[in-house]
Structure formats: structure tokens, C-alpha cells
Symmetry: C2
Subunit: 271 residues, 2 copies
């Protein structure tokens, strides 16, 4: 397996460069990437330090791959002379978009965020507050404010899914755990009745659930394979009987689960 150092250079947080770099590099499955992010590179001094780092890696072995989202043309030019494969992620696209719009792009360094931010921050904070105060079946009296209510057995992935929905998409996501008695019938729990149209079920392969629960509480009845199998099938029966849309969390990342949920539940992001 080849190992390559991958630099993500940005005049802002570096998140765009990182997301992009991961997407592209993971297409080459035999390459192991060693990621180094250099955020807030917003002047020539800081950039010089980064160029030196890149050159040093190159001298010690293979030249690094560099993903850049630098805005300033002079800085991009300087970076392109570093001893690496430098890929300017905005090169060309900004110009094409500018032509389409008949506008000039703003080249102020690090200037992606503006006055809109305080609003965005508040939407996310409110969503997050909602999700935390309605985690794991708490605060069902607040359900009328929910954008979505995620339902499922313990350890199916409800909390991370809901937190991702609120952090990333600004949605008020509550989650409701299905437990013992409720799972004995296919009846929807009382608290969920008024919100049928906002329910979304998460399910999982019982073998995977068994692994997760064993890690949490080894050799308990809670984590027994029988219990996991019984709960998962009972939950699935309940979802089916009540026409609740579901998705499977077994081998998927939180990003994949939430993107599926957004599409299936026809939700729009608020961020």
C-alpha cells in the first residue's frame, strides 16, 4: 500500500478542501493518505511556512498531494510552485460561474462568511437544543415542534443521526427509543400517535446490533443475540404495520443515513 502525504490548504476552515480531498483520494483504494490540514492561511507569511512543509516532505520521500481552496490569485500562484502535485479546487470553476452570472467573484481572503452567520448559528443552536432536550424519549411534549422523530431500538444509531441532522442540516430532530412493553405489540406508542407523518424508523442487522450492545454491556440479557433479534424484528413489524418509512443503519456512515433520511422523508435543510 502506497502512503502519500495529502495537504489541504485553505484561507478559511479547510473543511471544503478536506471533504473534497477525501472524496477524490478514496477513489484510489490502494493509497493510504496521511492528511495534514492547514486552515486560515490568509497571508504570504503563513503560506511560506506551508510551502516549506510541503517541500520538506518532498525532500524526505515522495512529493505530497496538495488540495488548495486559496482565494487570492497571488497566493495560489505561490503555492503552485511548491514541490507537490498542487490541485487548485476553485481554478476555472469560479471563472465559469462568474461568466454565467455576469458577475465578478469576491477575492477577499477568508471571506466566505458574512452577516448571515449569526442567523445560521442561531438556527443550528436552536435545532441542537431541541435535539438534546428530546434525546432518547425525553420531552415528548415538545414533539409538535419537531421536523422529524427518529424511532428505533436502543443502539440503532438514533442519537448520532439526530445530532447530525441538527448540526449539519439545522433540523429539529427528536428520537424515541422502542423498549420492552412497546415492542410486544405492533401498536404505535401513545406519545407518537399525533405525529405519524413525522416518524422515521431506523433498523439494523441483529448481528451488528449484538456487536454494538456487547461492547456497551457485555454478557447481559440486553446484549444477548436473542434479545437483539427479537427487538429488531418487533420494531420492523411495528414500522410496517404503521407505514413508517425506514432505513437500515447497519453498514452505513452517519452521513449516508442522514442523506437517505432527508431524501425519503422529503426534508429540506435549514442551514
Amino acid at each position: 500500500m502506497t502512503t502519500r502525504v495529502v495537504f489541504c490548504v485553505s484561507d478559511h476552515t479547510g473543511l471544503t478542501a478536506e471533504t473534497y480531498a477525501h472524496s477524490i483520494v478514496s477513489r484510489f483504494q490502494s493509497v493510504k493518505a496521511d492528511y495534514e490540514t492547514r486552515p486560515f492561511i490568509d497571508d504570504m507569511d503563513k503560506l511560506s511556512t506551508v510551502v516549506e512543509e510541503i517541500d520538506m516532505v518532498a525532500r524526505q520521500g515522495t512529493r505530497p498531494i496538495v488540495f488548495s481552496t486559496l482565494t487570492d490569485p497571488d497566493m495560489s500562484e505561490t503555492l503552485s510552485k511548491a514541490n507537490g502535485l498542487v490541485l487548485g479546487l476553485f481554478d476555472g470553476f469560479v471563472e465559469q460561474l462568474g461568466e454565467e452570472l455576469g458577475l465578478e467573484a469576491d477575492t477577499t481572503v477568508g471571506m466566505y462568511h458574512g452577516i448571515g452567520d449569526v442567523g445560521t448559528y442561531q438556527v443550528r443552536l436552536d435545532a441542537l437544543d431541541f435535539t438534546l432536550t428530546t434525546d432518547d424519549g425525553l420531552g415528548t411534549d415538545r414533539y409538535q415542534m419537531a421536523d422529524i422523530i427518529v424511532v428505533g431500538v436502543s443502539r440503532v444509531g438514533k442519537t448520532p443521526t439526530c445530532l447530525y441532522l441538527s448540526m449539519q442540516y439545522g433540523l429539529r430532530a427528536a428520537n424515541y427509543p422502542l423498549t420492552g412493553e412497546e415492542l410486544e405489540s405492533t401498536e404505535l406508542p401513545q406519545a407518537l400517535h399525533p405525529y405519524r407523518d413525522r416518524l422515521f424508523g431506523l433498523t439494523i442487522d441483529p448481528t451488528r446490533l449484538f456487536q454494538i450492545r456487547q461492547k456497551r454491556r457485555p454478557d447481559s440479557s440486553y446484549s444477548s443475540f436473542e434479545q437483539c433479534t427479537r427487538e429488531v424484528s418487533a420494531a420492523e413489524r411495528m414500522f410496517k404495520a404503521n407505514s413508517i418509512p425506514t432505513t437500515d443503519s447497519t453498514t452505513r456512515s452517519i452521513e449516508e443515513i442522514t442523506a437517505t433520511l432527508m431524501r425519503e422523508a422529503d426534508l429540506d435543510r435549514k442551514l
Copy 2:
């Protein structure tokens, strides 16, 4: 203000396309973008539907901007014929990277994630569990497992920052609220003493804190301007007296705060 419909088309979650689109479009500050994400477009049938949607928007007014991270060359080719400005985000870069590495890229549709996922999922889940069980000063007995402990007054942004650190970077981030008595001296609270090297302070402009707290609990002593001012300056004195690195959360997004914290505290991502 011009409004344009922006499609993000992906054979996977669409997050790369979305992040990228936001970065580029926000460079044109007079444009209001109406984002439409179309994830999991992994066959020609689904793609046809998207092409029809694009063409329909074009017929009704201005042609849309389309950001695509499609992997399959035939599908990219089909999309490029839609009536929009179609920007293929991987175009060229994958080839350049392939040449550098001396390898062919995998073109399997939607194939960014593989066997590594279960491990990634577990790292994130563990980090998230840690963050939730140590939120707001809980579970200080678990601090020896923390990667970072975020310290600050109530409503400064500790919880969202910590959740973002665990969700996005896989870090075990605890947060500790500074309250009444502790703020009367510049002494570090007892529980934090053994972890001096892992502390990070969040601070905020008192006027902004006042706004946030007023929303939470209007016209209380907790949310009075005097209280906000007093707490913020006491916290800042404590950070200074104990050489705790800090950052200001006033006008910055969670992404910006965490990226700064990662750099200042010299942390490496675990995801």
C-alpha cells in the same frame, strides 16, 4: 439580488458537492442561491429524472447552476447535456491524481466508503458518547480519557463546539461550565487541575452573550448585561492567569471555532 437554483448532484450523499457549491457560490455575494441536493443518483433512470428537473427550471426562468460529483463517465456525459451550467467537480483532478500516483481511479458508482466504515462509525460513536456523558460538567471522573476539555461560561458555545469536535473529527471533547463561585477567584476549578494541558477556553463578546441569554431566560439576573459582562471578564482573567489558550466565539460559525481550536490546541482528527 439575483436568485439562482443550484443543483448538487451526487451518486453518494451529496455532501462534497454541497460543501463545494456553498464555498464557490458564496463568493458571489449578490447572488441568492436556492439549493437542491439530489443524492444517491446511481443509475441512468434516476439521472434522467434529475435532468428533467434541471431542464424544467431552465424553461421556467434562468438556467440553473449544477455542481456534480458523479463518478461514472457516461453519467457525467449525460448530465452535461442538461440545460444548466454543469460543473463537474472531479473533472480533470481525478486524472491528474491518477497520473501522479501511477494508478487508475476506481469508477464504481457511489463507492467512496468501504470496509473502513465500521471502524470510523465506532470512533465517532465512542467520541459522541464521551461528549454527551461529559456535557456541561458531568462525568469529570472520565476526563483522563478526554482529548480536549472546553471551558467557558454558560451559553458561550461549549456544547455545539464539543459535539462538532466529536462528530466531525472523532475527538473526545468534554466541556466544563464556569459558574458563580468559581468565577470569583482566578484559581482553576479543582476538577480541572490534573488536565491543564488539555484545557481550551471559549470566550465571547458580553453584548452577544446578553442577546443569547435574553432569548433563553429573558429579564433574569442570569441574562442581565451586568452579569454577562462580569462573567466574561472573570473567565478571561482565569484563562490568562492559567495560560489557557482561548478563542472568541462571538461572530464565528461552529466550523470556524472548531478549526481554530484544532489548530491552536494542535489536535489531529481521528476520522
